[in-house]
């Protein structure tokens, strides 16, 4: 049977019969051998991960752990995974299946020692920087599986440096795509393809050494799998691979029945495109349904349509995100493989920003797909809460942001890259404790921020400071984790441009059950500064934002032409030595009413300098002596009572509020970014339109005017 026939047979079996493997015979007959083989598989993908990290010269792989390895069935289903960049396990699976579906078995063929590369997110991956290499595993003339690895490269040769292209209008701004290209034969890298990369992107060393890392890791897996086959026999190995997937599917369904109560849970994620003249809010709703049979579905009906901006994701991205969220929040202790996805149903509307209608649409920042994916984690949290498992409930993860740079570096060489310290963003608050500061991100639970010195080697800007983003996390009974804000000094080159990627000026990570969202993202850029004079004269220089973000230390202390970029999305612009700029990693959402926060936690935060006296009094309504940090319980009680009185005074009964806001809706009184979102979503989703009309009590015939056509007519 050809691989294509096997893949079709697999799809038919799953669709018609609902299972992946009919009986778990090995698990029943030989439970110890069965688990032993699996542990060896996990061991070998983990070894590949660790060794490959040290082969690469990219800090993304070496320092930050933006790398993952997996073992796959002949049809491309994940069997066992290493730790690391969890979202991409499934995207490699998509790549293998794509090659099989497109006849690669016959031409160009899957020979032992072939290594195929892909970074086309419409095949697998989230965007151009996600680069995967897979290799077939042969045993006595039969293809018995695949080994693969994925890394995230800091540069892709796009219209701007750094891979995250904040203003990409089409795929063709994003850089060099190599969709399922054979980059090595007989385990030897093809030199001509390396030349293509050397001359096609700004900093080829990262891409090329990442390729060596992935090929090394994949070869390790391939050879060690052969050892396992020798030990267990090829039939046992093949049957066990299928059983591991079925085992996970069954365990996942059982877990769903056990921990999630039947019902529907809804959340909304937001992002925004800031393309000049077409600023648009992007809608990422999710309705998660749990049935009594234990089926779990995620429906993204109502997602904004695709557009000419980089804030959308492909279908493999959403699938990968759901797998990532489900593994981290529901199936953390199961065997992590394709069985997770088999237990979950997805609906991502065709033509939406999570399933664009053609490969033309750029995905550099895959924003709304990520927003909707995170919202899915919130929905799971709501269900956990209802079932009483409060230790699993959490608010939203950070929305990431960083700077990009390109030009000639401090050694006079062409370069381009982004800084990726946002792998240590502030984590969400939970229902039982504060979010961790500078801890991680949802897409890579084990990511690290990397040493400042490593980034300074790789990119010309020097760190003037790298500090906790004080009060960045959403306020709440439990606060969101604070991320990092860094202040950089351009140094060693005058041929450099600096940009930033982030979002629209929206609240970044929503809170949960009364908690506030995290701070909006922003970036400061100071040009023509007097920093060198301050240094020469031995005068104080800033060590960050300080305690008042409305009047940051660096703006107060350094004379410069200061520019604030709300949302932190900035095209790369020329910079000079002595220029300063900031970047932030993003913060987590808060949980619960802030005036229920234990005053002692507030005091502890003050001691640790992760909150301020302003926030203590204005948000948490806690009275603390600024000198002794002693809590005045009586005054705190009075402040909190006063806050409740304010809420009674200012809060409007919902029906009154709705009557007022209905007038706004009828008159179309919306700012452009909001009006464009509503107009697009009402036009593309009948379900959303119906819900909208019903909520506002609007007639069936009501239609929203096209905000851009109106403007054209006025013009």
């Amino acid at each position: 049977m050809s691989l294509q026939e096997r893949l079709r047979e697999r799809d038919r079996r799953v669709a018609d019969l609902g299972w992946y493997e009919e009986r778990l015979e090995l698990k029943e007959r030989d439970p110890i051998g069965f688990e032993l083989l699996y542990s060896k598989m996990v061991q070998l993908v983990t070894s590949a991960h660790e060794v490959a990290r040290r082969v690469s010269a990219s800090p993304m792989s070496r320092e930050l752990g933006e790398i993952i390895f997996g073992l796959y069935t002949p049809e491309g289903d994940a069997v066992a995974l290493s730790r690391g960049l969890l979202i991409h396990v499934h995207t490699m699976s998509r790549m293998i299946k794509w090659m099989i579906e497109h006849g690669y078995e016959d031409d160009p063929g899957f020979a032992e020692g072939d290594h195929y590369f892909n970074n086309d997110p419409y095949i697998g991956g989230a965007h151009c920087p996600d680069q995967m290499i897979v290799t077939p595993i042969w045993w006595e003339g039969e293809l018995v599986g695949w080994a693969g690895g994925l890394t995230h490269t800091p540069e892709t040769g796009g219209s701007e440096p750094g891979g995250f292209i904040p203003f990409a209008r089409s795929r063709f701004d994003e850089g060099l795509f190599l969709p399922c290209v054979k980059v090595a034969e007989h385990d030897m890298i093809k030199r001509d393809l390396e030349v293509l990369v050397e001359r096609g992107i700004r900093s080829p060393i990262f891409w090329l050494t990442d390729n060596r890392a992935k090929i090394t890791g994949s070869q390790m897996i391939r050879e060690e799998v052969k050892g396992l086959i020798r030990q267990f026999g090829v039939d046992y190995f093949a049957k066990a691979c299928r059983e591991y997937i079925e085992d996970t599917r069954l365990a996942a369904e059982q877990r769903i029945r056990k921990v999630l109560p039947p019902g529907t849970y809804r959340e909304v994620g937001w992002r925004g495109s800031v393309m000049p003249g077409d600023e648009t809010l992007l809608h990422g709703p999710v309705a998660m349904t749990v049935t009594r049979e234990g089926r779990l579905s995620f429906d993204y009906e109502g997602m904004s349509p695709a557009g000419r901006h980089p804030f959308q994701g492909t279908l493999p991205t959403i699938e990968g995100l759901v797998m990532n969220v489900a593994i981290q929040h529901l199936f953390y202790d199961l065997k992590h493989n394709e069985g997770v996805l088999l237990a979950v149903d997805l609906n991502v509307p065709e033509g939406s920003a999570g399933n664009p209608p053609s490969i033309f649409y750029p995905t550099a920042l895959w924003g709304i797909a990520y927003g909707a994916g995170l919202a899915s984690g919130q929905a799971i949290s709501r269900a956990y809460y209802a079932k009483g498992y409060r230790e699993e409930v959490h608010a939203t993860s950070a929305l990431s942001s960083a700077y990009t740079a390109g030009g000639l570096d401090q050694y006079g060489r062409p370069f381009g890259a982004h800084n990726f310290e946002f792998a240590a963003a502030g984590l969400f608050a939970t229902a039982v404790m504060d979010g961790l500061d500078t801890a991680g991100v949802e897409f890579n639970p084990e990511g690290e921020m990397g040493d400042a010195e490593i980034w300074e080697q790789m990119l010309p800007p020097l760190y003037l400071s790298r500090e906790i983003h004080i009060d960045g996390g959403g306020y709440g009974k439990y606060r969101g984790g604070n991320g990092v804000m860094s202040l950089y000094l351009v140094s060693g080159t005058n041929d450099i441009e600096i940009g930033g990627f982030g979002a629209a000026p929206i609240y970044s990570a929503p809170g949960l059950m009364g908690g506030y969202p995290a701070s909006a993202l922003y970036m400061w850029v100071g040009s023509r500064t007097n920093i060198h004079r301050l240094i020469d004269e031995g005068r104080p220089i800033p060590s960050g934002e300080g305690e008042d973000p409305a009047n940051p230390d660096f703006v107060r202390m350094v004379e410069a032409r200061w520019e604030l970029i709300p949302g932190a999305n900035r095209p790369a612009r020329p910079a000079r030595e002595g220029d300063l700029f900031t970047a932030m990693t993003g913060d987590g959402g808060g949980f619960g009413d802030p005036i229920e926060r234990d005053p002692d936690l507030v005091r502890r935060d003050l001691e640790n300098r992760v909150t301020t006296h302003w926030t203590t009094r204005h948000v948490y309504c806690v009275a603390i002596d600024p000198e002794t940090l002693e809590v005045d319980a009586e005054e705190t009680e009075r402040l909190r009572r006063a806050r409740r009185d304010e809420r009674w005074r200012d809060g409007v009964p919902a029906q009154q509020y709705k009557a007022r806001e209905r007038e706004r809706v009828l008159s179309g009184d919306f700012a452009k970014p909001t009006a464009r979102m509503f107009h697009a979503v009402l036009g593309s989703s009948e379900a959303f339109r119906r819900a909208f009309l019903e909520f506002w009590g609007l007639p069936e015939t009501w239609e929203m005017a096209d905000p851009d056509r109106e403007a054209e007519e006025v013009a």
Binding site: V259, P261, R647, G651, F670, A671
Partner: protein, 157 residues
């Protein structure tokens, strides 16, 4: 099969666990009886005559009124009507944007109200902040949780 003492789960519900105890709960296999145990403990604490069917979210419960209706109720006693209708429809609402948002966020940390505002929902009974929606102006209230009680009764719950 995992089981936990009432004392531990009571502490979980009332914020009394250490981070080590929380980690213990997260690491172990989930206790199958948690749903019933939490309902029982909350029932004991609130001393309501009517049966609690579900803990909907912080402060809010769905209770069986005994007359065939199931309503959302705050732990202060305030009722929000039938659980199949969004409880937010019976809350106090406060839209926080622009200058008002500066009472909570400072400087550039405030979102641009053309893109994103905060919609705070308070309990009319006790003025607890029950939810903060991050939405654009004009967005319908998000109906977060609709439990399927029929499936509850027919399923394992």
């Amino acid at each position: 099969m995992t089981e936990y003492a009432d004392e531990l789960i009571r502490d979980l519900l009332r914020d009394g666990l250490s981070s080590e105890e929380i980690e213990g709960l997260q690491r172990h296999e989930k206790d199958a009886d948690r749903f019933a145990q939490v309902l029982r403990l909350e029932q004991e604490r609130l001393r309501w005559r009517e049966r609690i069917l579900l803990c909907l979210q912080e402060h809010l419960y769905i209770v069986d009124k005994g007359d065939g209706s199931k309503v959302v109720r705050c732990d202060c006693g305030q009722e929000f009507g039938d659980y199949r209708r969004n409880w937010k429809e019976s809350a106090l609402v406060y839209e926080r944007a622009g200058a008002d948002a500066l009472a909570v966020y400072r400087g550039p940390r405030v979102a641009d109200p053309d893109w994103s505002i905060l919609r705070e929902f308070y309990c009319p009974g006790c003025a607890t902040q029950l939810d903060v929606e991050v939405v654009p102006r004009g967005y319908p209230f998000i109906f977060n949780v609709e439990p399927d009680f029929e499936a509850f009764e027919g399923g394992e719950q």
